[in-house]
Symmetry: C2
Subunit: 350 residues, 2 copies
């Protein structure tokens, strides 16, 4: 059994059916599946249907509460606080982003923070919802403590992530979606298999020292924040603007996705929108974004570099290709999805 390609609509329908069988409302199921499929389409497979299993496990175990309805706790002209009631992160963040967009429509800016949430998948999904409204969108999340502050050797901060989407004119929108860790664990595991050294900026060994040995990193080591102490500062800032500001979990109080499946993870998120025509006509802004994109792309390249990209450009190209050709699924993932479907009486679309 080798890699196959599955149309996005079929894979999405499969995820929706699984969620609904477990008791999620059709609307919540569509939103959650939409986020997973979005990630796969854009080539961010780490946040795609590979997460379906743990989502289903958490829905069953109680770590994601099936019947949760996000509640607005407090509200001002330009900001609001939402309690996700320990439901699926995608559901609460979609509500939050909608509210931020509505507020920005009136006052120019909207900032909505969410507590008692859970893993919400790819951040860009929410940030990009602002685009069709002529707005800049932002979404940030904290996560379970897997990184140390600079100089430390124990997890105190999550691989907290931030996405910002900026509309363009004739070009694809600029979409920056980044975690604050230097690297995903997957790359370190790969280096282990291939017996390659890793850059000393990627990980710490168990004593807290930078290491170029992937085995030392994997043996109770930690991922480093990207870019040294600046990445640490940004990760802390995201936790302040999500967990601390919302009244939710922060630092060591946030749980990771794959542990304690029956316990809500106390994740917090913040979504924001900025209406562009509060500053200048949207068309003018989009022309200016096209111009700065062209400034980047026209930059002479270093030896061995074919093209200069702007953030989101590679993902946009991947999305166009995968919408046409389908989402590639490796054999092991096909097997996992088929088995998940079988447990719930949902036929896999492959």
């Amino acid at each position: 059994m080798s890699e196959i390609k599955v149309p996005a609509e079929q894979l999405s329908a499969f995820c929706i059916a699984c969620f609904v069988k477990l008791g999620l409302s059709p609307e919540d199921a569509r939103g959650t599946a939409g986020n997973l499929i979005f990630a796969n389409l854009r080539g961010v497979d780490s946040h795609g249907v590979i997460r379906l299993k743990v989502y289903l496990d958490r829905l069953r175990a109680g770590g994601f509460k099936l019947q949760a309805r996000p509640q607005i706790v407090s509200e001002q002209e330009s900001c609001a606080l939402i309690d996700a009631q320990d439901g699926v992160g995608q559901v609460a963040a979609t509500v939050a982003m909608k509210l931020a967009i509505a507020k920005a429509g009136k006052s120019g800016v909207g900032v909505v923070s969410v507590r008692n949430s859970n893993h919400f998948g790819a951040s860009a999904y929410y940030a990009m919802q602002a685009l069709e409204h002529g707005m800049i969108g932002l979404a940030a999340t904290n996560a379970g403590p897997t990184m140390a502050p600079t100089g430390g050797r124990e997890g105190r901060l999550g691989n907290n992530a931030l996405a910002v989407a900026v509309p363009a004119g004739n070009r694809a929108p600029i979409v920056l979606d980044m975690a604050t860790g230097a690297v995903a664990w997957g790359k370190i595991f790969l280096a282990q298999q291939e017996k390659r050294r890793i850059p000393t900026t990627w990980a710490l060994d168990r004593s807290g020292l930078p290491t170029d040995d992937p085995d030392a990193a994997a043996d109770h080591g930690l991922i480093q924040p990207f870019g040294g102490y600046k990445g640490y500062g940004l990760s802390l800032l995201i936790d302040l603007l999500t967990g601390v500001l919302s009244g939710g979990g922060f630092s060591t109080h946030v749980r990771t996705l794959y542990q304690e499946l029956e316990t809500p993870s106390q994740v917090a998120q913040t979504c924001a929108a900025l209406r562009i025509d509060a500053f200048m006509p949207l068309e003018e802004f989009c022309r200016r974004v096209d111009a700065i994109i062209d400034e980047m792309r026209s930059c002479p390249t270093a030896p061995g570099v074919e093209r200069v990209f702007v953030p989101g450009e590679i993902e946009e190209e991947t999305e166009r290709r995968r919408r046409a050709e389908g989402i590639p699924l490796r054999a092991a993932l096909q097997e996992e999805l088929r088995s998940l479907g079988a447990q719930l009486g949902v036929a896999a679309p492959f």
Copy 2:
């Protein structure tokens, strides 16, 4: 002649007198000097009185317009656009931050962008103005193009900077103030003098390749964005939220401080404020910030590391010391300031 320490008030009065002699209003002179002295007090000497000479040169040559009054171009409930009229950056950014704070006081959030500005010194100065109002403050600026996008080998982005200040309770506020470059040129010049290799993440040689040779970096090379492509993305994002959004200069249209002294530099800034009690009582928030600070500080340290710091902590300690002991000035800087004063008939306070 060796290093001396000068009381902040005396050094500030000297800068104010120089600015006023050139024709800046006393209020604008105080604000601008306040920003330079703030940087010195916090140990950010690169943005302190070492900049007085180029500021005076630009005020004389016309690159900073003496009589400029920042004008509000457009305004909404929660955001505004200001034209700095090519005046001193400190003056316009102070107006912008005040307006952002006023807007946040009403709606919860304020975002004010500034075009036709100039160098505005240390970003934290503006972000921290939100603190006494029980708000989180943010200030960002673009700068002349000195960095290449990832994969490029020509300047397309500035060492764009961002500061965010978050109030705490019994601890010092968290103040993250960071440029998006991996390192200041000064560190590369130092490595040249000491004939030391530099990390390959700091600079590119003139062909655009990472180099560990400080001489190759200094010979028409470029500083790299910090943290690789993520730092590039953040630098581009700051330019989008300042230069592009404000209708001001961006990318290659921004001029650097030390060239073309007679030409306004087309720098743009954005200031923002978020009112905390729109989300929860300020006291509760401050307790939570203290708690996350303690989570960081209590992290067990890596071998050889004495303490874990939070952003702004070192600067706060430096400020306390320098307020008591004075601001250290090396011989060459004393000489420069004395000579600047002599040209204007202002006696140096040392």
